[in-house]
Symmetry: D3
């Protein structure tokens, strides 16, 4: 029997399911009695929960990131569903499938990875092919690269999101580079693969999505350069051939400049054809993804507008045109 | 016999050719004697020219925009070629092929226009197809749209440049929209066609490239909306069917917001999927074109960098990698 | 008997009046019981209201924008007055005078309109006079122009506010243009009349103040140019005389540039004497109106400062000087 | 016999007149011979001049700011008139009328001062009237205030320009304050009088227009506050009555905030009605003056546009409409 | 017996102490019963307090800034400690030591003042020494200067904070000026002393920290110049010698420019060596103080990061390194 | 006999000296005759030079970066000294002391390096001491680090300038850290040493000062992180002990954030105490150095102001105060 997901809960439902604890607070009400306020989540979203008459001892038995099996009943509070808990019990994580509790790519990760290999390993530049292979034979890297989201809450903020973002970009580039013959196709494809590799360590994404300390203090641009540096060194050892310095320079430049301007954290502006192309393609994919999700996920049916999106500085227009397939599972990459 | 073009002149050449007068100044030297300083051009570039011992009467016989047949000899002055004139004579413009004297697209305009019709007339939305046809049956519009540059000096600054820019964008969109199924393909294609239509009257480009008064005071965003308004009205009359208001609104919004931010002169930020996609695709094509031209046209062989580009706020890296076909005539659109 | 207005309510009052529903929410309390939270308004302001033990069926009988006759009692909650409802009943809007329920200009709209005609129809430029008349003979336009506010919540945010703003500007210009003889007086007066005409369709203001879809996606600058375009065409047909192109251009430029800078949504900077004058006069009137209202309406008597005004980026100084007539009904325009 | 002014010189004229030396440079030509390059000026403008075969001894006999009687002949050099000198001789400044050599207001300074007294001394607030009188009985202040320009090169950059700017503002305020009854009329008038008083010492303007050291290091906003502080102290001593502290504060605030935003050097934003009104009126007058002068003084008859104005960030549109009195001597203040 | 301080309160404590009233609100609960909501403070922090079943009469017996002796019991409400009051009584402020109720410098004010005199009175420039003495013999000034905080809530926001900030800066300058021999040491030391003197009247700090009206409308930069102006005048009278004008100018410039850029409210950029050094030293001390306090005071032990600091635009990294004396009372100045 | 330096040349001097060629251009005059225009330099500055009647063959015998022995005579041209050459001859660089031809630190490099070792090797943190030693035992690194300038043209733009900048910062930090006990002294000292290490490869400085390709495309912040990464790896191998990860992170963060804000090219804002201290100390030293040089080097004796400094956005005030040792050779570090 499948679980009842967060996005399926309605007013008055009985709940008897495991959840990931996203947040935990012990509070006192006006009469001074303690209660627990939790934020519980599965892969479809998160929901508030309260346990009246809790004790400090109970509260110490688990932390955010742990799994709880809870029982209770839903009600609407201040316009949102919450669960009034009657029972909770810590669950051994080994009995849990973690992918049920964090948002997932709607695409098949195996197929995405196969497509990535297909595009990159068909490149004709042997140096670039070699350095990509040095990444792809590193199993730990591949595990992270296929699990990481592309961000905490903006575009592609789900497990596998980074891979999905990169494969979409590779597909776009694959189709259009012949329209721009001055672009070095292999350089652009490799730059697309590398531009966000630093995110595999900038973010933590096993139990919840967050920045690591290194992610906040150093950032994925510089972390990506460090990772490339290491792989290029290894590559040179493996092949016995030095990696061409200008090629190395151009790859580092693409990583370092791909945010496009100082205000978005790039210490250098794009100064090569491939760097400027990478910057605009990256933005194109990220923004189409963000706009699409905001419009699709907006629950209100009364307004032709989404609420104001702080990070975009605007509301988005949903309009009233007949849907054109937007409800499908998405494009086949 | 073909003419000797400006970009073929070297020190000490004899010149005996017609040119377009781009600028004219009558000056006096230290001894008080008058001389003419001209800027002459053909489709490959412009060159300074001087006629010593000129008279005011002679200077009055022609204006910038006229054609002169000149004779003289080249020399280097302050690092540049100039022509010391011995003779000049006004030429009847009817005996001139104007396309020889302004920069031209390297693509065949007829083929570009055919490709534009092919993509747009294959759209399935009848309203969008109808409004596009209303533009394309307007011969005066088509003449301007296929002649106009996309800009005075930045990207695609040559006759036919606007059409080339639009057709490249249509080709890019044609290839990638199935990767983004939430995008309304016909809406995006029509928006690409319309986004710069105002430029046909914002710029003047018959004898030289300049802004019209209306171009400077009102701008191509608003002029494009006015043109669309007129065609939509005509379209409704021709078809006897009202144009769907939301569709009209979405088209106007794409024109008005395609510069993407207030600081670049858009009075509205993009608020629909198609508007944001248009904005990034437009920038992608314009910047690849600009970077490519700056790198390709830079005459210096001593430096791996172009000079500082004021409008880009940076120098561009040319590097030393073997060229990869950059010298070809460009992509086949 | 006159109604008891929102701004007259005090703690413990009995209420038995019709109101406009500005917002409606059905919520559950901690015990899971449903209650209605409403925002009710009349022309003097808005007030929160609660009906305990509501049902979904009751909640479905009306929507924001409808009128309710309510009974109940006021109390103070978290520092503000709210009404605890005991009864509510939907009222047929035909039995309601809508001007009682939206904020109104304190000026007589008829007099304002007469003054507008007086100033504009005394202009000596026949073309400008003709185009103004084309607007003023359009009854639907006049109805909207005399009803619209000048904004949703900033300056002149009440019915008739747009007209009041325009008439004040006409009066200011009427008195000072002879101090600036280089200004074309008729052009400035016509520009003042036209600068915000797009607002009549950018905003909706019959039951509540909001932006229309077109208002958000296109904006009143471009909508104003479209309206002017249509009237100029009609004008030319009516008079049989073409409208002078430069005059048309100067009017469009004034509309398009009147926000004065890119960051405030003008796609063009003011480039004529009349456009720059319009920009500063418009700001002068709007800011004096805003400062005056904030200082006058601030209810606190304990502080010589208003609260921080987000949209102004500052607090305003009320000081302790004796009032100088600020409590009067306002200037006679 | 009146002098031949700089703006009357044409090619080939003989010159035999006194001028103010605005700049002096001793240079060597390619043959190593020394020559003098001067910039000479009178109240209508400035002109370049050269004396071939000059000596260091001759060059030491005068400095910028001195007056020279010169003889020579005009010619056109690189598009501009210059004078080839045959003779020069230092002139005793006591034999010179300095107002012939610096740009002057086209208005009668005596009349302007009378109008200023008329408006300000009719105020009903005795404290404000008293502090204004303290300024006006200070003869040295009045001499400076009626001589100073309002700026080095932007608006009202001529002797008497500051007074003209202030009187125009007083006239504008005088006519419109009854439209804004919440404005304290006397406070606004006094603020207009005071806002730029610091300029009398921020600038030097006896022989040439420049910033003083104090002007550059401290600026007219703070210098104006210091001057007001001194006059308020004197005023209190003369009248035996303390100046009301809040009134003093409001005046200081108007001076300190009148540039309107931090980026234009105001350490405080306007926070009172009178301060915000002062800011916009000041800008209105300055910008109308600047636009009018740029359009009127542009010598080119070929273009409907002025050259690009760096300080305005734009070109201005002159157009082709029939002049409407712009050639007159200006408004009667 | 010492009092129980706010930062020592835990859940369930009995309270029987005097506090300063920082805020007072009379509210009604859902049943319409009135209760008092207070913010009470002592020198270690502030705490919320409620008195159920209050009356308007009781609420009128005291105001924010008064002292209350209260009895009650603490409980946790929404994650924070609050006091449920059973009794409150107004206390005569003459029986209170005010330094117990506002945050205090952890340094000995007498020692700080002695150190300030020591450094400044050892200067060799007699004019600068004289003007400093004119400040230090003004007892009222010294009382304020040693009591004022350096800010409302940012760095050194406690009584004596201004003095502590200035003395630290003097110590830093004292130690490093010999590394920069081009800096005029006495000028820098005097500038450090003067740069924030305006704060003694910009802020009020006897019962609570706030801006005065003059502080908000004019600001401490200009107020500091006015104070210096007065002391320089007095100084000249006392010594019978005029104060050197350039020295006066350089001091005023340092005060006026020490915020370093327009956007931070400096009307002039630093243009002398001593002004630029003052700007960076001032920022260095303020930012080290702010970072240190945020990291030290952050109560959370679970995270290696502070919460997001709005005024700094970032979170700060606390890390996990062993503390290096950060818990001590601070440096011995 | 010592050479005659560029800064000693006056009008009419005979010249017979070797120079470094900084720039070379072959031009034609109006008669079509070729001449060479050179920029020649030694350690005190650069000077223009012309050789009339040059040939292309002669011009090909040398390039910028080569040394020439020239003979000729100085004259003033357009206000500057230039040399009219009569003879030139390429010089074998092995016979040249390069330090005579590029600007040099006025400090003894050996002493500076000794002081650097003294401060850094006295640190008590063994990990930090070890990583510093890994840099200092790398002779090639030390050679570059003691030769590199700190910049191309702003502060410390001479050979040894980088070392001088770092040693001054170490001295400042050494003296003041005990005033800020919360700062980790060893971390700050190591961060000072590391912050600009990337400059040793970002710049080229053997024959002229320029950016390397990697310097322009990647920049010294990221290059510094790469260098640190390599040394930390080596350090761990040498010591057999892993470098503490948090310490590594804090060092990388200091390098990456030391420009302090995005607009100055830092991809991260300073988020630790030591990072913010480094940022302000770095700026303090750089700006004092820049201001001091601009004021000291300004040749004009007529003005109390330097010319406008583009990179600073201001003029600097030199004033008329008696010099206080500014002419000395500088501080003893």
């Amino acid at each position: 029997m499948t679980r009842r997901y967060v996005n399926q809960l309605t007013n008055g439902d009985s709940v008897d399911e495991p959840f990931l604890v996203a947040d935990k607070q012990l509070r006192a009400n006006r009469q001074g009695n303690l209660y627990l306020h939790l934020e519980l989540r599965d892969k479809t979203g998160s929901v508030g929960a309260r346990l009246w008459n809790a004790t400090e001892d109970l509260a110490r038995t688990f932390e955010p990131g742990d799994f709880l099996h809870v029982r209770g009943k839903t009600q609407i509070f201040q316009g949102s569903i919450q669960i009034i808990l009657t029972h909770l019990e810590v669950v051994d994580p080994s009995r849990i499938e973690p992918e049920e509790f964090l948002p997932q790519s709607s695409h098949n990760v195996g197929k995405l990875l196969a497509r990535l290999r297909e595009v990159l390993l068909a490149m004709s530049n042997p140096h670039l092919q070699a350095v990509v292979e040095c990444f792809l034979i590193d199993d730990e890297f591949v595990r992270k690269f296929t699990t990481a989201p592309a961000g905490i809450k903006n575009h592609h903020a789900y497990q596998g999101g980074l891979l999905e973002h990169v494969v979409t970009l590779l597909n776009v580039a694959d189709r259009i580079t012949d329209l721009y013959p001055e672009i070095d196709r292999d350089l652009l494809l490799t730059g697309i693969f590398l531009h966000d590799v630093g995110k595999v360590d900038e973010l933590s994404y096993d139990r919840a999505f967050a920045y690591t300390d290194e992610g906040q203090l150093v950032g994925h641009l510089i972390m990506g350069v460090e990772m490339l540096h290491e792989k290029v060194d290894r590559c040179a050892k493996l092949t016995g051939e030095p990696f061409p310095p200008e090629l190395f320079l151009r790859l580092k430049h693409m990583i370092v400049s791909h945010h496009g301007s100082y205000e978005f954290g790039s210490p250098k502006l794009p100064m090569t054809l491939e760097a400027i192309a990478l910057h605009y393609l990256d933005n194109l994919d990220a923004k189409i993804h963000t706009f699409g999700r905001e419009i699709r996920d907006d629950p209100s049916r009364d307004s032709s507008w989404t609420p104001f999106q702080q990070s975009l500085g605007r509301r988005l227009y949903k309009g009233n045109l007949p849907a054109n397939g937007a409800g499908d599972a998405g494009a086949e990459l």
